[in-house]
């Protein structure tokens, strides 16, 4: 009786361990930490490009953002502190668009290649 009870309790502990391992070791895509968020939103009379830079590293990181709207270049730079999020917003108006091609590039200080590069084709609607 005592042995069976002990086996039952140990089985419950194994089950609890399995549940915890599922949560922490199963590669569920939704569970991964988001380090960047890119949004392009069509509003009433404009397109809004929003980019969230999340610094999950130890020190301050300087970023340079380059947005090109049909050849017109807009540059901005920022320093994001550890654990903080910087939200970059760029408004794109229909009169700025000809071909409708918007390029976005994010450079991190010390790296020659952009860590994020996106091209939006906004004239498709």
């Amino acid at each position: 009786m005592l042995r069976l009870r002990l086996i039952f309790i140990l089985s419950l502990i194994v089950l609890a361990g399995l549940f915890v391992s599922i949560v922490y070791f199963l590669p569920l895509r939704e569970g991964y930490t988001e380090t960047k968020r890119v949004h392009i939103i069509e509003a009433e009379n404009e397109w809004i490009l929003q980019y969230d830079i999340i610094n999950r590293e130890g020190g301050d990181i300087k970023y340079t953002i380059v947005v090109t709207v049909d050849g017109m270049v807009y540059t901005d730079s920022t320093v994001v502190k550890p654990g903080k999020t910087y939200t970059y917003i760029h408004h794109i108006y229909p009169q700025q668009l000809q071909e409708g091609k918007v390029d976005f590039a994010l450079y991190q200080e010390g790296k020659t290649e952009p860590i994020e590069q996106a091209t939006f084709h906004l004239a498709h609607n």
């Binding site: 039952f8 089950l15 549940f19 949004h39 994020e116 939006f120």
Partner: protein
């Protein structure tokens, strides 16, 4: 008399152990299957039945399942036209989230197709989402109901809502807490069973009765969460 009672308790315990090990094997199988079919991309589009002029939001995530930074090329096609393309470098065990929100020009019931393609050193992946999920002829009788239900309940039924409330993206994981409390309660009930029977401990019996109800309620909540999670996993 005592022997009959003991034999009955033994049978009950053997049954409980069998149920627990069945759960362990089922969960183990699920864990192995999920690990082997891990896909680094996911995409969801709301609403399910878009109306003309209403915003459609396509959300996709590109994850890095490896332990080194990973550069991924991606393209998002909406109704066959390239809407977005790019290159992203994702840090280990992290993901990048993209949202493309535009005003729908298709009439209600017309099918909108979304295709996401990615390529990296880990392989090529693609994900297709069609809205509505079935051709309009097939679901014409359900369109009005579906449009109503999605417009009213889209905020509640979205993956975002579930993830932030019950998912592992939330600060405190509700599922793990429920499971651990449930298992702790079961261990308590098991350990105090003989005390309650032999010594008729009034206080412990009182606690046992209360905790039995709590265990049942938590179990029902947990089963509901498991079914919702499985439905969400199958839908992505």
């Amino acid at each position: 008399m005592m022997d009959t009672m003991r034999a009955s308790q033994n049978k009950g315990l053997i049954l409980k152990i069998a149920v627990v090990w069945l759960s362990i094997f089922l969960l183990g199988g699920f864990l192995i299957a999920a690990r082997s079919s891990a896909n680094p991309i996911t995409m969801s589009v709301i609403p399910e039945v878009p109306k003309a002029g209403e915003p459609v939001v396509a959300t996709f995530k590109i994850a890095n399942l490896t332990d080194a930074p990973l550069t991924t090329h991606y393209q998002l096609y909406i109704n066959g036209r390239l809407a977005e393309s790019g290159i992203t470098t994702v840090t280990p065990q992290a993901s990048t989230k993209y949202q493309y929100a535009y005003r729908n020009s298709l009439e209600r019931g017309e099918q909108a197709n979304f295709l996401l393609k990615t390529s990296s050193s880990e392989g090529n992946y693609d994900k297709i989402v069609s809205l509505p999920a079935y051709p309009s002829q097939l679901m014409s009788s359900f369109v009005s109901f579906a449009a109503f239900s999605t417009s009213v309940m889209s905020a509640m039924l979205s993956m975002e809502y579930f993830n932030t409330t019950f998912g592992i993206t939330s600060q405190i994981n509700t599922g793990v807490i429920v499971v651990l409390v449930l298992i702790a309660l079961l261990i308590f009930l098991e350990l105090t069973q003989s005390i309650a029977v032999d010594r008729v401990g009034a206080i412990i019996s009182k606690y046992r009765a209360g905790f039995s109800i709590l265990t049942t309620i938590l179990f029902i909540i947990f089963i509901g969460m498991v079914f919702t999670k499985v439905a969400m996993l199958l839908s992505t």
